[in-house]
């Protein structure tokens, strides 16, 4: 299924996209980013002129495959070290505001 909303010259819904990225923006930021990002996305459109039929996407810069590790246990980090980095924690777990399911 070829998705191509980009065909229509719709401007980016900056707030919507920022929300996907869990970023809240001020109105000023939205206004500023809107212009800058639309300008950049417009610049991206030059790629459409290229014929990429039959060209494989370059997902990796190295021609490597089958990189595995053996199923062995090795010591990790001790809990104190982990908790010390956490902004909020009790002696055992990292704490966050209540998760509402």
């Amino acid at each position: 299924m070829v998705d191509d909303k980009a065909q229509s010259a719709k401007k980016m819904d900056v707030r919507y996209v920022a929300n996907l990225a869990r970023l809240s923006l001020t109105d000023d930021e939205v206004a500023q980013f809107q212009g800058q990002l639309d300008h950049i996305v417009e610049y991206f459109n030059q790629l459409r002129a290229l014929d990429v039929d039959g060209v494989e996407p370059m997902a990796h810069a190295t021609p490597v495959q089958n990189v595995f590790r053996e199923d062995e246990v090795r010591p990790g980090l001790d809990r104190d070290t982990v908790l010390k980095n956490a902004p909020e924690h009790n002696p055992e777990v990292i704490m966050v505001p209540t998760i509402v399911e």
């Binding site: 199923d71 246990v73 777990v93 998760i99 399911e101």
Partner: protein, 475 residues
Amino acid sequence: MTAYRVTIGLEVHVQLKTKSKMFCACSTNFGESPNTQVCPVCLGYPGSLPVMNRAAIRLTVLSGLMLGCRINAFSKFDRKNYFYPDMPKNYQITQCDKPLCSGGGVDIEVDGKARRIGITRIHQEEDVAKNFHYAKWSGIDYNRAGVPLMEIVSEPDMESPEEAFAYLLALRQILVYAGVSDCNLEEGNMRCDVNVSIRPEGQKELGTKAEIKNMNTFKGVFAALQYEIARQMDVVSSGGRIVQETRRWDADLGQTFSMRTKEDAHDYRYFPEPDLMPVVLPDALVAEWAATLPELPAQRRERFVREYGLPEYDAKVLAAEKPVGDYFEIAARQCPNPKAVSNWVMSDVMRTLSERDIPITAFPIPPDALAELVKLAETKVLNSNTAREVFAIMLAEGGRAGDIVAARGLAQVSDAGAIEMIVDEVIAGNAKVVEDFRGGKAAAFKFLVGQVMKLSKGKANPQMAGEMLQRKLSN
């Protein structure tokens, strides 16, 4: 009253039985103190990178083979991006368009009707952390984050809660058999997302489905499906429409509830995982792994009937758990009467296992020793009483049946002369009972046989004793 057809699809997440996590070397042990099996990788620390656990890939491929799937020669990982407190990186490494396995199925039987439930795909991914909820805050334990998960997606082939239940049981049996997972539901080894929809009989197009996520008991799946199907029928038949949504099952209330709709539908923005390289499985490697597969439970059942002449019932019981079947086979191969071995395993052995709450792998009597005991009983060296006596001694003290019989002189007495002496003694010493027997009291005969057994310290061959008594008393 409109008749409805039900369509059920299940996505089962299975924790694989590896020692270490999917992308790092932390232990996968269950039940450890929170946040003691963690490292920069499974915590999503800056700069950390995943590295694939070869054993996990192998177990997923084995599962695919067991379930009749096609093992894809080329397979890759992708990132599924979404934010949640149990996600250390706020993306999950999973497989989107090129899973390890495609196709396959599971055979089930419900009410005598056999069906094959299709499998769409099996892919590899990583488990999430565990959240604990308290009044004012939630706590996160990352021990589980990164444990290898296999997701088995069924075709929407099931048509009733019974079929879903049977599918889950059959699937679990196969996976435990293959040693792929312990499928221990209490430890969260196996979780299930349920998709269910209804449509009027005759309508080809599937109805709108509801999803019930993270079910962790089979009974729960059954009950939730019963409720949800009824709920959907209720809604539709009163003119309403089913909303495509995620619902949660409340076991206490016995109802599904709509989950609070999230702010936006999930756009997971899948893209190929740049930190992991593709998995290319040559046929030779898959064949090498395939050679390590145990036979499926169904195959073993059928072979037990065929090879050992066992009744279907016995075969089913013995093949249900692989270690039990293994035990039976070792013993049966050393005894001319496999049915006798089967009887012993199904009764005395399994009863002991139940009483002691131990698995057969911890059972004190090894299968070859049991075989020896059974042979002694079959050749009438022991009768049923003395055989049980020896069994109990072997349980308590160990040792071989032959040695125990010799040491304690437990061999059944089948010498006609010796038995005759005891029979004569009993007849002589129980004149009143003999009178009763001659007078027609059957119970008296039993008493007399009992006395022969008693006098012989249980060693007399009861059959011979009975025959001899019978003969002497009818004179």
